[in-house]
């Protein structure tokens, strides 16, 4: 019983570590040149067809890029853009766009 409790406590304590790895926004900025063509210089897109990225959650952006890469999201433009990105690249880019401001959550 006590051991089980201890195991639960350890698991709970460790769970934030799973998200500890994070991108570097300043590195991401240097890698974001190609993104700007559609998503805008400040992560605010000039075209209604392309999403704003500024202020979006970094973990969501990472998952979205990974899904384009593995084909869980099917979009020929994005698949081409992310195919050569490493996990670190995607984390850095996500951190960069997340550090900007535009999108919001309002209730």
């Amino acid at each position: 019983m006590r051991i089980r409790l201890l195991a639960c406590a350890l698991l709970l304590a460790a769970s934030p570590l799973a998200f500890a790895a994070s991108g570097d926004a300043s590195v991401g900025k240097k890698k974001s040149g190609p993104c700007a063509a559609c998503h805008g210089n400040e992560g605010v897109s000039a075209s209604p067809d392309f999403p704003n990225l500024a202020g979006q959650y970094a973990d969501y952006l990472e998952v979205a890029m990974k899904h384009y890469k593995v084909g869980k999201r099917k979009n020929p433009i994005m698949a081409e853009q992310v195919k050569n990105l490493s996990n670190k690249d995607m984390m850095d880019l996500a951190a960069y766009f997340a550090s900007q401001r535009a999108l919001s959550v309002k209730y």
């Binding site: 897109s45 075209s47 209604p48 067809d49 392309f50 999403p51 704003n52 202020g55 979006q56 959650y57 973990d59 969501y60 990472e62 998952v63 979205a64 899904h67 869980k72 999201r73 099917k74 979009n75 401001r101 535009a102 999108l103 919001s104 959550v105 309002k106 209730y107």
Partner: protein, 113 residues
């Protein structure tokens, strides 16, 4: 001659705006109650199959939001919850919902915070 010209102009104008249904943000407000359960809460996370914060929609491009909803509907995006959410939405519903979220841009004052 003149009516024919007007007709031609109208036809051209209609052609310039293809199938995209014009969204009504006010109507959208009454259609987002299910969306808000996740997208209306800051830092709300998915639980399965991957854990990440659900995206912010406020201030997003309306056309993009419609395209994203259609992609979930058609299976071009793989996420069961969203697929279920959009399954019964009409084109007009999606346009209205998109218009509602697109109208929630961050104000200049908020940006400076």
């Amino acid at each position: 001659m003149r009516p024919a010209r007007i007709l031609a102009a109208l036809a051209l104008a209609a052609a310039a705006f293809p199938a995209f249904a014009a969204g009504d943000a006010a109507a959208g407000k009454n259609k987002v109650f299910q969306c808000q359960g996740c997208h209306g809460i800051s830092d709300w996370k998915t639980a399965f199959p991957e854990v990440y914060r659900v995206p912010k929609l406020g201030g997003q491009k309306a056309e993009y939001l419609v395209a994203a909803m259609n992609a979930y509907k058609k299976g071009e995006r793989d996420f069961a919850t969203m697929r279920a959410m959009v399954a019964d939405l009409s084109d007009q519903d999606m346009a209205d919902i998109a218009a509602y979220y697109a109208a929630q841009a961050v104000t200049t004052a908020e940006k400076k915070k």
